[in-house]
């Protein structure tokens, strides 16, 4: 009986206040979408880290025609220089950091290049001669890159030592910055949402002050009086959160899944299912924000 009564009160409150309720839904929707976007970027970063960090290598590029680095003063790498480098890689001082390494010849480099850029017209203008040969090293601990770099940079026949991880780090820090921006926008929007929810609940309490006054007089408990108002805010915010979750899923499904993953088939994008991990968090966040702000408002404007 009491439950049915409270539900009825909520229904009438939502109907009476429909414009405000719609605006609460929209504001929470937008703010939680930004929160979710930040979350998605983080998921994407983790996904790419997991995918790439297994694959990234330290590459020692060897001198080729036209190399201008200090180690290349003698022109393209000679077979002796190459052997020396290989011996150095196998020496115990270096080998303890290295899982394994391969030599990639100019022809192999050309083949990989062709595979990687198969969609791009650049393939036609590149010849094997233009691509340097290299040693590809899989590190035991990718953090120890500095040791390899110091050991090999000054060796004759070495053009440059590149840690592919550092190229990725640059991408990740850009994505981190983007998610920070999303979080700050979300912060402003959430403040907006809290204030709007407070105003809505205040209006709702005001328009029903007759009822609440009578409820108080006949001895209705605090919960029965306040719960309809609090749930009103919570329901509106949860609808907003559900819309936000749906939007994130749609972005993951249509934009990442159908569009971006076709453009960049090598990149590991998050799946739409993964964004659903964010949904409960958004629902809880939206609901609790609304609950807390309505509770605080009622404490001020609804005497019990």
């Amino acid at each position: 009986m009491r439950l049915a009564f409270i539900l009825g009160e909520i229904g009438s409150g939502l109907r009476r206040n429909i414009t405000m309720v719609v605006s609460v839904i929209l504001v929470t929707f937008v703010s939680l979408t930004f929160v979710g976007a930040a979350g998605m970027l983080q998921l994407q970063i983790n996904q790419m880290k997991g995918y790439w960090y297994d694959k990234v290598q330290v590459a020692i590029f060897l001198c080729s025609d036209g190399s201008t680095a200090a180690g290349c003063a003698t022109g393209p790498v000679t077979p002796e220089q190459q052997d020396n480098l290989q011996t150095l890689l196998e020496s115990p001082a270096v080998a303890q950091y290295v899982n394994d390494f391969q030599y990639e010849s100019k022809d192999e480099a050309y083949k990989h290049f062709k595979d990687q850029f198969s969609n791009s017209p650049i393939v036609d203008s590149v010849t094997p001669d233009q691509l340097p040969s290299s040693f590809r090293i899989n590190m035991k601990d990718p953090e120890k890159y500095q040791i390899i770099s110091e050991t090999f940079s000054s060796q004759p026949g070495v053009e440059t030592v590149i840690d592919q991880r550092q190229l990725l780090e640059r991408l990740f820090s850009a994505m981190n910055a983007a998610s920070l921006v999303a979080v700050s926008i979300a912060g402003v929007m959430i403040v907006c949402a809290i204030l709007l929810i407070a105003t809505t609940i205040r209006l709702s309490a005001f328009s029903r002050r007759r009822e609440t006054g009578i409820m108080r007089l006949v001895g209705a408990s605090k919960i029965v009086i306040q719960l309809p108002f609090i749930l009103e805010g919570v329901i509106a915010a949860v609808i907003g959160a559900a819309l936000a979750s749906g939007t994130l899923w749609a972005v993951a499904h249509f934009f990442l899944g159908e569009y971006l993953s076709k453009q960049y088939p090598d990149t590991a994008f998050i799946s739409p299912g993964q964004t659903l991990i964010l949904a409960p968090a958004l629902l809880i966040l939206g609901g609790s924000l609304a609950g807390i702000s309505s509770l605080l408002t009622l404490r001020r404007y609804l005497k019990v």
Partner: protein
Amino acid sequence: MIRFENVTKVYDQTARPALDDVSLEIDRGEFAFLVGASGSGKSTFLRLVLKEDRASSGAVYVAGQNVAKISSWRVPRLRRGIGVVFQDFRLLPQKSVFANVAFAMQVIGKSRSVIRDTVPEVLKTVGLEGKENRLPHELSGGEQQRVAIARAVVNRPGILLADEPTGNLDPTTSMGIMGVLDKINQNGTTVVMATHDDDIVNEMRKRVVELKNGIVIRDEARALYTSMIPVVGQSRRLRDASGRDEAQPPAPGEPNPDSGEEQR
């Protein structure tokens, strides 16, 4: 049922107290009129009983409990034992007569079947049988007040507080309302009624407690609206209080304590 022990209520430190050292006892089943000019402390008295306000000093006992010691989450239970009726009825305009009365039961969690049984019974007590489905604006003032009374007593409170319940009604209708209140009192409910209506008080011949400037100046059984006893028993303290009052006109915003009589 209601006991005031040296109760003082001060709203504003600079003005005189709304109630000044009031000691009073109203027994179970009694019918008492609370009379006095506007601003004499009648409403404050009722608010203290309901724990809408806290006494500045002294103790208020309702049904044997010191209301100051009731924790805030138990206040609803206190209020369930007290019905309240107002001058302006305070009905919910969009709810029918039945729904208005049922509302008081719904909000404290009474079951649907209990409501279905109790409400018609109470409506019959107040003389509204057959009007369950009317809306408040379709009723006369007297009928609306009967609905309000039905709502106040539907949960069978031990005490009924009525704050000028006949203030908006004509004399004949008022007498009808008094009949209803009397009937409720006969059933064992303690009734405390604040009023300005001298005809009613004179007609009913019940206990009369007269307040002036927050002080009880008369407490007579089976009395009239105005005292028949010449003012000789007035205490020194009261004379002092009135003297102070003359020297210091009422603060702005506060109704003139003497104007209530003339307005009637």
